[in-house]
Amino acid sequence: MAKIVGLPKLSPTMEEGTLTRWAKQEGDDVAVDELIAEVETDKATMEWRSFDRTVLLKILAAEGTTVAPDAPVAIFGERGEDISSLLGAQSAPAATPNAPVATPATNVAGSDAQTSAPQVPVGRIAASPSVRRLARERSLDLRGLEGSGPGGRVIQRDLERLAAEQPRAPGEPGSSAPAAAASASARPAPVVVPLSSMRRTIARRLVESKQNVPHFYLTAEVRADSLLEVRKQLNAMLETGGEKLSLNDLLIRICASALRRVPAVNASFMNDAIWQHQVVDVSVAVALPDGLVTPVVRDADKKGLLEIAREVRELASLARQKKLKPEQMSGGTFSISNLGMYGVDEFAAVINPPEGAIVAVGAVREVPVLRDGALHAESRLRLTLSCDHRVVDGAAGAQWLAAVRELIESPLQLML
């Protein structure tokens, strides 16, 4: 029995997915667990594999299209089946159910399509063509805009209301400043880059963080000579195996140990309660060409340095291939972000909610230091802790930084 299959929800936070590649073509047999397609979700490219032995009869969403979970993307069934009635049902406006369904395959039967009320498919913004044109011209993001037309369609009136609420920038199209508009148009227009799902997620989450989380920042400068020396010795030992520890690997372990010592920083503000985490899972910011992700090193306080190093390498590699699974980049309890390799002395990072804090690591600098009347060369490193003041108070943050300082300056403590 042929059926229309909706896009499976491949991650708990997936609101839409882009079909980056169909691994199967129309008419192909599909075995159990065989790859059907690759789907770019909010953070990673996920594999969509078959639960059944079946035949891909019809592709309804071409490569490159972005659709909501459960929106029809293909018809599966037995070879030679007549799917014309399903195709008819699929083209009806009501054929897209928007109830979230946990199972990956949703059967959209023709009878359902006829009886359910017309509704706007999830993930597609219903907006009049005129509104879409104005949004293009004025670079407006229609997402989240409540449309007052039928089925929530965004109509011109909604834009007018929006414009009335927001003061208009001078020279913006539609404002009565033709001279400014004319001179602006003589200069090259900006290149418009559509948002990737990752960029959209970053934008949404960081705005949420900065708007909702009361950040405060504590900066400390620590002596890094001992830590660098330990790293040098360890790497000399590892040389034969071709492995290496980065400074960041050591810092992950140090931060994790400090979190164990000062658990107040290893906590989340969860609206009506504070969650005091029993595990220390450190999210590590990994830069990608088009954004960043934060894969998580679980139980970083219990892992050996080499284990951490290997895990971070593996996660970073997966991240660059966009193969990280959602569970590999969610559920951290604390984050570490290191821009030292770019020569940044210090910076303040944005908290990755619902984590309670993030530490920003700057570059190691060799500086002259006066000690006992004599000039010494010392390697120093600046750490800035961003704290969610709803969970972490200044004193707790300071205690954590003190613990980190102790561990960096006397790294042998890690062995205890």
Binding site: S128, P129, S130, V131, R133, G149, I155, Q156, R157
Partner: protein, 328 residues
């Protein structure tokens, strides 16, 4: 400008063109001695004689075919159908001869015939006598179809039709014949070209496109809507084939909303053609789907109360206007 009735404007156009060109003649039922079923040809027999004002028997296929033949040998006939309902026996002559001979003779023959008469419901004449034929004839390449709604347009378009070398279907309205309107003074010749719509009223919120009989009703409706704060732009297409797409599209680009009002039945026809052109050429400017208000999709009933429901009503237009404005 002087005031003239629609029927008198038509008569003036015929008189002026018959005086200008002695190849022009009128043929039809009751056009001569009876002075025209609707008195459009009043006085023409006395003025031009029986050779040029010809009473035809009740045989539309015959006199329509005669006119096509006369056109082929160099005359310029005006065929009056008592109503367009009676053009149906002559459908073959119009569609297969008048519209096709120029092409099928490789341009050897031109067919400068004007077929004219009242179109659409004349009130309580029942299903067979209430046809709105524009949907049939606009589908035929080789025909021009015009449908004026004012005395001035009636005169200016009829003069253009008589001078044109192609078959022109000229739709009038029994309920339009008595309306009065501005017409240029005698001697101030005005030819209104085909394919030129008229912006009857300017407005900001919604474009209403119509043609022929519903137009006077829409002028009144525009006044009422103005009182309710809705600024309606009214466009009279006047000429359905060719159609002035540019004027309509420019208006919709300004107002972003459109309702097309017509008296032909809703399936297809020039009303649907106008919607198609708007969605293609003004797609990015539409804030709502283009709606149509038309006759209901049933044969015209005889009973007055039912007929009043079937013919496109101002209430139906108002509802469509409010819908494209998202007011309901």
């Amino acid at each position: 400008m002087r005031q003239l009735r629609y029927r008198d404007a038509l008569r003036e156009a015929m008189i002026e063109e018959m005086e200008r060109d002695d190849r022009v003649f009128l043929i039809g039922e009751e056009v001569g001695h009876y002075q025209g079923a609707y008195k459009v040809s009043q006085g023409l027999l006395e003025r031009f004689g029986e050779r040029r004002v010809v009473d035809a028997p009740i045989a539309e296929a015959g006199f329509a075919g005669l006119a096509v033949g006369a056109a082929m040998v160099g005359l310029r006939p005006i065929v009056e159908f008592m109503t367009w309902n009676f053009s149906l026996p002559a459908f073959d002559q119009i569609v297969n001869n008048a519209a096709k001979i120029h092409q099928m003779s490789a341009g050897q023959f031109r067919i400068p015939v004007v077929f004219r008469g009242p179109n659409a419901s004349a009130r309580q004449v029942a299903a067979q006598h209430s046809h709105a034929v524009e949907a049939f004839y606009c589908n035929v390449p080789g025909l021009y179809v015009v449908y004026p709604s004012t005395p001035r347009d009636a005169k200016g378009l009829l003069k253009t039709a008589i001078r044109d070398d192609n078959p022109v279907l000229f739709l009038e309205g029994e309920t339009l014949y008595g309306i009065q309107g501005d017409v240029p003074e005698v001697g101030q010749e005005e030819l209104i070209p085909f394919g030129s719509a008229n912006v009857v009223r300017e407005g900001r919120h919604v474009t209403v496109v119509s043609f022929g009989r519903p137009v006077p009703m829409l002028v009144k409706l525009a006044d009422q809507l103005e009182q309710e704060g809705i600024s309606m732009e009214l466009i009279d297409a006047r000429s359905l084939r060719p159609l002035d797409t540019a004027t309509i599209v420019a208006s919709v680009k300004k107002t972003n909303r459109c309702v097309v009002v017509h008296e032909h039945w809703p399936y297809g026809g020039p009303g649907a053609e106008i919607v198609d052109r708007i969605q293609r050429e003004a797609f990015d400017y539409l804030d709502a789907p283009v709606l149509r208000a038309s006759n209901l999709d049933v044969p015209m009933p005889y009973a007055l109360n039912l007929e009043n429901e079937v013919i496109v009503t101002p209430e139906r237009v108002r509802a469509a206007v409010r819908q494209v404005l998202y007011l309901d």
